[in-house]
Symmetry: C2
Subunit: 138 residues, 2 copies
DNA sequence: ATTTCTGGTTATAATGTTTATTAGGTTAGA
DNA sequence: TCTAACCTAATAAACATTATAACCAGAAAT
């Protein structure tokens, strides 16, 4: 927890209350909230927090490598970056589920001469819960 | 080429000039154009083509499984669906490069009980050209 | 051939997300 | 304390996308 702060300070990033709030919220969050959801939730504790600040902070934390941005639906979603993992998007219930799988191409660090720095894989289909309930998409 | 038409007709989709134009354009297109780019290019040949029609047509073709939507930058991008492949996004020159790799998880068709219908993997990094030119992002 | 109906296209308005701007406030260092 | 740099808040603006309504074309039926 404090190594996050240390890392950011080393990058010359000023740690304001607003930034810490966003970072903490994402860290204690198991789902993948949109910007609007993050803002709405933090407003309860910090009623003056501006939406623009949330956007700025998320962009900065992303640049600093502390959080990850997901391009799944129309709205961008964010999550704290723990370790490399991927996502399953259920076409039925629209949930996003974390997947603990490894990609051999990513591990190689390179493909066709292109240097890989990060990757993001999204699987689409019907999640186990929806299959059980017979809501199969087929 | 005519099997595309046949497939769409079998799905009960009316093949208008506008829809054919979008489909043909994507088929003869090696890059991954945005909606705006598709519209602008087709306007040269069909000056009255509406942007809304392009949106509608792309959505329909996507539903019909004839084209694929990419969520890479801010704007959605589209490409004709040839075979399953993935993408490399160069953080330096912002190009999108097709990758001919296979994902073992996708091949399995299932992960953690979730049924996989499609997937999309995006690798981020520095492409071979930019590495050669010394524009490495590091 | 004319009418009617269905569905597509166009043009435009509306929505919603994201970015830019500006003014004011806060922090860190001299 | 003073200053400079930076952050925040509020608002406006830009941009992509969707919804709406009027118009039009082609097919089916009379």
């Amino acid at each position: 927890m404090d190594n996050k702060i240390k890392r950011l300070k080393e990058k010359g990033i000023v740690l304001t209350i607003q930034r810490m709030a966003v970072l903490d919220m994402l860290h204690n969050c198991s789902n993948h909230p949109t910007v609007e959801e993050i803002h709405k939730k933090l407003l309860k504790k910090y009623p003056t927090l501006s939406l623009a600040t949330v956007y700025n902070t998320l962009e900065m934390l992303k640049q600093a490598g502390e959080i990850q941005e997901l391009n799944i639906g129309k709205e961008k979603r964010f999550e704290s970056l723990l370790e490399s993992h991927h996502h399953f998007y259920c076409l039925v219930c629209e949930r996003i589920i974390d997947l603990e799988i490894a990609c051999p191409t990513f591990k190689a660090g390179e493909i066709d001469g292109h240097k890989i720095e990060s990757m993001q894989a999204i699987f689409y289909g019907t999640c186990a819960d929806c299959r059980e309930k017979g809501k199969d998409n087929a």
